[in-house]
């Protein structure tokens, strides 16, 4: 039986929806793809940590240190459960960007005999859909090691072209780093054949789950991937916290990215031995309050049910795609059908630049993203300077889509197109 999913009720949990926007309008927040809004549960969890338990974790013999450590490690367990992982495989970073860089730099620091070491002739595979965060770390790793960077292209609908998968993921491929869902087009990438092929040639699969983990259930075991990264702030959590998940076996073999306090087992003036994962990858006093806030966020999502979240967004996207199809002078960029597609709709408008579209929409309280969405190569491929992007989440409803559509009409009137 379908559970009742009531965005109006959910909105009450998010204080920001009380804000009055330009023109005296209510907030129509359609920019969750950039960052989500935060419920009281997350704000309260962070405040409670600072007010009642604040201490540096894993050090200190006092009550607060004990409580802080328990809360922080408890947060790790909550995140592990969220993606069906072991808790010692879950690393708190400052962002998904840092998570991906941690893998890239760790691989780059590997000794020549390591399975992760790259050399000229090795290959790293990405796709044209990638956000800069899952492109530049690999592009630069390739430059540093002499490895070759190769990518999957996309078809006219913004779907990944896997017709040449055997040649793209060649026998020499060591890393396949791919997005789970395009932040620009909403395309959900079919992973099975990619994972199968990558593993057949002995490559590891790194999944950028920034646009998927907040929106539908993720099970790292079922996906069969080797590493996963996502950011907390897109999943109702605070800024300044991201997740890096990796298979325990790999994490144990890998070199750390940052070194310093907390990540060691023993130290002399000339040598250091690393602590086991996850500590090996968490140098310094960690972002405790943010990790705890993120745990509160995923608990909130889990209570709603990730399958319910996904269904709600799918229905809302279908509703919006229908409305868009009826508009004149407005073109949806990316998949037009609602299959393997997330709740992100990018569009262009005849005669109005995305930045101007966003400006007019803002006058009606409608908050969208405009520009190249940190996916400049994708924009060039599509022959666009940018798009306007509406992205939906748990607190959005049909009234929000209606407000978007109405404000698009106002933009056309304003610019007389």
């Amino acid at each position: 039986m379908k559970q009742m999913f009531t965005p109006a009720k959910i909105k009450e949990d998010f204080p920001i929806f009380k804000k009055v926007m330009r023109g005296g309008n209510r907030l129509v927040y359609l920019d969750s793809g950039a960052t989500s809004q935060k419920p009281f549960a997350v704000l309260d969890a962070e405040r409670d940590f600072y007010e009642n338990h604040n201490a540096a974790v894993h050090r200190g013999a006092h009550l607060l240190a004990e409580e802080a450590s328990l809360a922080y490690e408890g947060a790790r367990e909550v995140l592990a459960e969220f993606i069906n992982a072991q808790s010692d495989e879950v690393i708190f970073t400052k962002s998904a960007t840092e998570s991906i860089n941690a893998i890239a730099y760790s691989f780059g620091n590997s000794l020549p005999n390591s399975r992760f070491a790259l050399k000229p002739g090795d290959r790293i595979v990405v796709s044209e859909l990638e956000h800069h965060a899952n492109l530049i770390p690999w592009q630069q790793l390739a430059k540093r090691t002499g490895a070759e960077l190769v990518w999957f292209s996309i078809d006219d609908d913004g779907r990944l072209d896997l017709s040449d998968i055997k040649n793209v993921i060649s026998e020499t491929t060591k890393i396949v780093a791919i997005t789970h869902q395009s932040n620009v087009l909403g395309t959900i990438v079919p992973l099975d054949s990619i994972v199968d092929r990558a593993h057949a040639v002995g490559a590891v699969v790194v999944l950028d789950a920034c646009q998927s983990a907040p929106h539908f259930a993720i099970d790292v075991k079922t996906l069969g991937i080797d590493f996963l990264a996502f950011s907390g702030h897109k999943a109702l959590g605070p800024t300044g916290v991201g997740i890096l998940w990796g298979r325990a076996q790999y994490l144990n073999e890998m070199e750390p990215f940052l070194t310093g306090g907390s990540m060691i087992e023993s130290v002399t003036m000339t040598e250091a031995k690393w602590a086991p994962a996850p500590k090996k990858f968490e140098a310094g006093v960690p972002n405790m309050a943010q990790a705890i806030g993120l745990a509160a966020a995923v608990k909130y999502l889990t209570k709603l049910g990730m399958n319910n979240v996904a269904q709600h967004e799918r229905e809302l996207t279908a509703y919006a795609l229908d409305k868009f199809a009826a508009l004149q002078g407005v073109k949806v960029i990316g998949p037009k059908d609602n299959v393997n597609r997330g709740s992100v709709i990018s569009f262009t408008m005849d005669g109005i630049h995305p930045h101007d579209v966003g400006q007019v929409l803002d006058q009606y309280g409608v908050a969208v993203r405009t520009g190249h969405h940190c996916a400049w190569p994708l924009m060039k491929k599509l022959g666009l300077v940018g798009t306007t992007r509406a992205s939906f989440y748990i607190y959005n409803d049909e009234a929000d889509v209606d407000a978007l559509i109405a404000s698009i009409g106002e933009a056309q009137k304003y610019f007389k197109v």
Binding site: H355, D356, Q363, T370, V385, F415
Partner: protein, 145 residues
């Protein structure tokens, strides 16, 4: 409506019918400027002859503010001495950082004062400055040749 202070008629006119938007073959310096946060980009040619701006021409893509502003600066600068041109750029930069408190001197900036409202929209100031900074860069490069 608040929007009207941003999108003056003059700006929309320049956007729809931009001036000097065709690269001239003769130039003393050519620059390519981009706005990395939104992807707008322009190529701008300046021809400085004997301390005077003989021609300004450009090509590019961008929002109404950046396109109109580049149109305005290109037309405005032709015939000015380099010193006069650079001080005009400074006057415009000052207007853009005024947070809506200044109207701009029409005797100096001409159509450029229509962009005064942009200074109230922090995210759009860089759009308005794109063409002006490109012009300044190209002019300074011309002097160093």
């Amino acid at each position: 409506m608040e929007l009207d202070s941003l999108y003056q008629e003059v700006i929309l006119d320049h956007y729809k019918n931009p001036l000097r938007k065709k690269l001239e073959p003769n130039y003393s310096a050519q620059v390519h400027h981009v706005n990395p946060s939104c992807g707008d980009e322009i190529t701008l040619n300046v021809d400085v002859v004997e301390g005077k701006v003989k021609s300004v021409s450009w090509e590019g893509v961008g929002c109404s503010i950046s396109q109109a502003s580049t149109s305005i600066v290109s037309d405005l600068m032709i015939g000015k001495s380099v010193d006069d041109a650079l001080s005009t750029v400074d006057a415009f930069s000052k207007l853009m950082s005024s947070k809506g408190t200044e109207a701009g001197d029409e005797n100096i900036l001409e159509d450029g004062v229509a962009l005064a409202g942009v200074s109230k929209f922090p995210a759009r100031i860089k759009c308005a400055l794109l063409g002006w900074m490109a012009f300044k860069d190209a002019t300074l490069q011309s002097l160093n040749k």
